[in-house]
Symmetry: C2
Subunit: 157 residues, 2 copies
Amino acid sequence: MGRRVPREVAVTRVVDGVRSLFHELKAVAQEVHGGSPFAGGRRGVLLNLLEDGDQTVPELARRRPVSRQHIQVLVNELLRDGLVVRKVNPAHRRSRLVSLTSDGRRTITAMLEREKKLLRGLHLEAEVPQLLAAAEVLKELRAALRDPEWRATLTET
Amino acid sequence: MGRRVPREVAVTRVVDGVRSLFHELKAVAQEVHGGSPFAGGRRGVLLNLLEDGDQTVPELARRRPVSRQHIQVLVNELLRDGLVVRKVNPAHRRSRLVSLTSDGRRTITAMLEREKKLLRGLHLEAEVPQLLAAAEVLKELRAALRDPEWRATLTET
DNA sequence: TATGAATGACAAGTCACTTGTCATATGGGG
DNA sequence: CCCCATATGACAAGTGACTTGTCATTCATA
């Protein structure tokens, strides 16, 4: 205990924690939403629409690190399943706005509710302030990884 | 500021942070190790061998959440590339131990060194204690997700 | 009004896995 | 000592979540 830990080792521990937690979360998510095809990418699209309102497919794609074409596929599936509809876009005739149907809105809010309820039941010793501090560190770390100056050092050597 | 944040919201923030950070890390990793085929699964296998010594394929598989067959494929590739060799297993004639070659050892330690060096260069405001605290929270969260009692609540309803 | 970028649709390919099957080995109970 | 459930390696096929490429249409702008 109390041994001095070098900075890069501390960062590594966070990174490792992120990795294993992510895999754990994926497994849990699969269990939570059952075989329901609304996990993963679809959930993300619905969430974006809920939070940021109607958008075109390319707009949705720009907000996340996946290709425009893939978002298109997800949206097409959601259209097929009646969770979203296309609305006339005053700013673009061809590229219509994707908009949640009431069914879509109900689906995504129900998923979020279910997730929150489950998270509330976790047996966690960490208190709220510690959780928030951890979230803050993650956010900062993410920002640091995006820093163009740092990114430049990656390709050196 | 200072507004009370409910527990489940705090947890959600950590979870969201983990998700986006993971994706960011994946992108960075790809850049760091270039097109080198030693990222991802292979890196993990080499790391396990470095940390825990010679093991059989099934033993390696039990340590991570992927199928035995997939580990087998990864190990076969590493064998082909001369990063590991098979050694006689006193405890099992058929299932030989997988062991790092000096080349394999050099490869994985070089990767880890490179990663550490890069992490050291990050422009991070968080200090070491905060990083360690965050890592601790992640670990605890992961443990909580594994809790069988909690897992049982997932399938109720 | 010509030109290049954005968009939707579609196709094919890739990556990191999983599931299934089979033959061979092993280890523990009868 | 033999039998059988289980473990292992090898191989094959399938899957989910993406990417890349292409094309025709539509838009923005010089």
